[in-house]
């Protein structure tokens, strides 16, 4: 059958009803854009997230007041949880000694570091940490040294700074031994961190690590007073046991009765990934949902255009029937036309959807993935749309009486 002729015909009917066709194609494009855009965003975030998870290190798990990824209304469930206090955390660390390596830390955002006339952007994350932090969290010291247990217990005003601070405050000078100011408090730089790049568009080098004792005394407020515990099991085999042990210990430290739920979160690499997966599913479903609604509206538009096209070409249909076109030929011609229109809108949507995904990727400094399966899905959806919304007009065309159609002017 002559597909090419039908495709050309479809393109000609765009010329014939420009405004209506453009509006309809636009809504198809928006629908497909939403689907592809969400698909690209999810693939891109997943790629970036997985890279970071691998870097976070094996055999570690965290205990914290609330989960790291949460969305929707779930925060209600967590807001009444009591803090993990420094005392509790210290007791936990003490009891876990010999079972696994435990690090305590806490952090807060939005600091500006200063030195003489130099300022950083107000995006520095201030981390209060203990002496195990660097090993457990894979924070590699580039120059200088980390702080030890005695500096933590004595609340020494020392700091280890990330690469952004080195660049913005020291301008090529050696930072070791120099002093910087963080919220009116002077710290001596004793080490620098190896650059970690960025994640989700945020630099991971705008960091300053100080002893947890100093942090707790001067820099935590009611929002950031809960300590996070990171535990590194000595081997993969010991991980599960260490997790069980930790849960039991935390429950008793927080005086939970056997029938009460945990009032803290235990997060392993896997559990964080699965939280992230449910977030990305949410995004995907949202994109899909809004996309499909827009496509439904577009479908009605396509049907309308096709009905007008059938009406305007009644005479042509009559001619085709007079020279022997069977029903299936007329059906086929108009359905191909509808599918062509849908595909055209779809391709525009795919193009801009992928472009938006690439834009997002550039924004957060990661390689954007092209969601091949969503592209295929979109093409299939457009074909089905053409079929679904082109069928009625095509059926109308195929059912025209040849004489009546020939007489139509």
């Amino acid at each position: 059958m002559n597909i090419l002729e039908s495709i050309i015909q479809a393109l000609q009917s765009i010329k014939a009803n420009t405004l209506r066709t453009v509006l309809t194609l636009l809504s198809i494009s928006i629908g497909i854009f939403a689907i592809i855009g969400a698909g690209t965003a999810v693939s891109t975030l997943e790629g970036s997230f997985n890279t970071q998870l691998v870097a976070m290190g094996q055999n570690t798990f965290m205990i914290k007041r609330t989960p790291s990824v949460n969305f929707g209304n779930s925060w209600r469930k967590y807001r009444n949880r009591k803090d993990i206090t420094y005392q509790q955390a210290k007791e936990f660390k003490y009891q876990m000694e010999g079972i696994s390596l435990v690090s305590l830390h806490n952090e807060t955002d939005g600091y500006t570091a200063k030195r003489n006339n130099f300022f950083t952007d107000p995006v520095v994350t201030l981390i209060g940490a203990d002496e195990n932090f660097f090993v457990v969290k894979n924070f590699v010291i580039e120059t200088g040294r980390a702080f030890g247990m005695s500096e933590v217990t004595s609340s020494a005003p020392v700091v280890i700074i990330g690469n952004d601070l080195v660049v913005q405050l020291f301008n090529g000078e050696n930072p070791i031994g120099q002093f910087i100011t963080l919220k009116n408090q002077q710290f001596q730089v004793i080490g620098t961190l190896k650059s970690q790049g960025s994640m989700f568009g945020r630099s991971l080098d705008a960091q300053a690590v100080i002893p947890l004792t100093v942090f707790s005394r001067y820099h935590s407020d009611e929002w950031t007073s809960s300590v996070e515990i990171t535990t590194k099991a000595y081997s993969k085999e010991q991980l599960a046991e260490a997790v069980d042990e930790s849960i039991g210990m935390m429950r008793s430290l927080r005086n939970l009765k056997p029938w009460e739920d945990n009032t803290f979160e235990v997060e392993t690499n896997e559990s964080v990934s699965s939280q992230f997966a449910s977030f990305s599913n949410y995004l995907q479903v949202f994109g899909l949902g809004s996309g499909l609604i827009s496509l439904l509206a577009a479908g009605v538009g396509i049907m309308n255009i096709m009905l007008v096209s059938v009406k305007e070409r009644t005479k042509e249909i009559g001619i085709r029937k007079a020279i022997g076109a069977k029903r299936k030929w007329i059906l086929f011609q108009f359905i191909i036309e509808a599918i062509t229109l849908c595909q055209l809108g779809g391709l525009i949507g795919i193009f801009f959807g992928v472009l938006a995904g690439q834009g997002l990727g550039a924004l957060i400094n990661t390689e954007a993935a092209i969601p091949v399966n969503w592209v295929i899905f979109s093409i299939v959806i457009c074909t089905l749309m053409g079929l679904a919304f082109g069928s009625y007009p095509a059926w109308k065309a195929a059912s025209l009486d040849p004489i009546e159609a020939l007489r139509y002017e």
């Binding site: 002559n2 000609q12 005479k315 042509e316 009559g318 001619i319 085709r320 029937k321 007079a322 020279i323 022997g324 076109a325 069977k326 029903r327 030929w329 040849p402 004489i403 020939l406």
Partner: protein
């Protein structure tokens, strides 16, 4: 005599129009044999086109019998009728009825597309048909780039390209000036002398004189059905 190509018996066709019944045809019976050249004559509104559409399987009678090559047309489905129109019948209309956006060649290929001929065969046959009507140099012109006479030649080529059993022409010269009208009549004369069956609707005596048999219709009935004793065979341009 051989079997008739077309046999109709007591055919009637009525239309319902705003609660009124219009009798376009009342009780028409006819036989048409292979290689006849027939003119259907009659005043406007007498039912010529209605009869032609029924003979061409575009329309079906309200009552009566119609057999085409021995097959009962009343029993056929819409797709069967489409197949007959495609393979057995070549239509030529007063208003040409070409697809405006397609080239002459494409217009002629169309019936071949519908009969499932491969694209090379199709093209070859369409080119041949265009050459036969003297338009070999106009293949890629669209209808609006052709004169009325040339358009009607394209329409004749389209009617011929499937090698139908019968050519039906409904006032084929009605939209043409006398000179081009005569050219088209010359074409029909040639077709007939090569063995084709031609039925021509007209209300002009000058045109009807070319046919070998003249059937006159009035008020939906056959008024007379006579052999033309001296058909015109010369085509002097006046």
């Amino acid at each position: 005599m051989s079997n008739p190509l077309i046999h109709i018996e007591h055919i009637a066709r009525t239309y319902e129009m705003g609660g009124e019944t219009v009798h376009a045809l009342r009780d028409v019976s006819l036989d048409i044999f292979p290689n006849e050249y027939v003119a259907l004559m009659g005043p406007s509104g007498s039912g010529k086109s209605t009869l032609m559409n029924i003979l061409g399987c575009l329309d079906t009678p309200s009552s009566g019998v119609y057999t085409f090559k021995g097959l009962d047309v009343n029993e056929m489905t819409d797709d069967d009728l489409a197949e007959i129109r495609n393979k057995e019948i070549g239509f030529v209309f007063q208003t040409f009825n070409l697809l405006p956006r397609a080239t002459a060649l494409k217009n002629i290929e169309l019936p071949l597309i519908y009969s499932g001929i491969s694209s090379e065969d199709r093209k070859e046959r369409a080119i041949k048909a265009l050459e036969d009507v003297g338009l070999g140099d106009r293949m890629l012109h669209r209808p609006n780039e052709l004169s009325g006479g040339q358009r009607q030649r394209v329409a004749v080529a389209r009617a011929l390209v499937t090698k139908p059993s019968i050519i039906l022409a409904d006032e084929p010269t009605g939209n043409l000036d006398t000179k081009t009208g005569i050219e088209i009549m010359k074409l029909f004369q040639e077709l007939w002398s090569k063995g084709n069956t031609v039925i021509l609707v007209t209300h002009e005596e000058d045109i009807a004189r070319h046919a070998r048999r003249i059937i006159r219709i009035r008020d939906g009935k056959v008024e007379s059905d006579t052999i033309n004793p001296n058909p015109v065979t010369s085509f002097e341009i006046p």
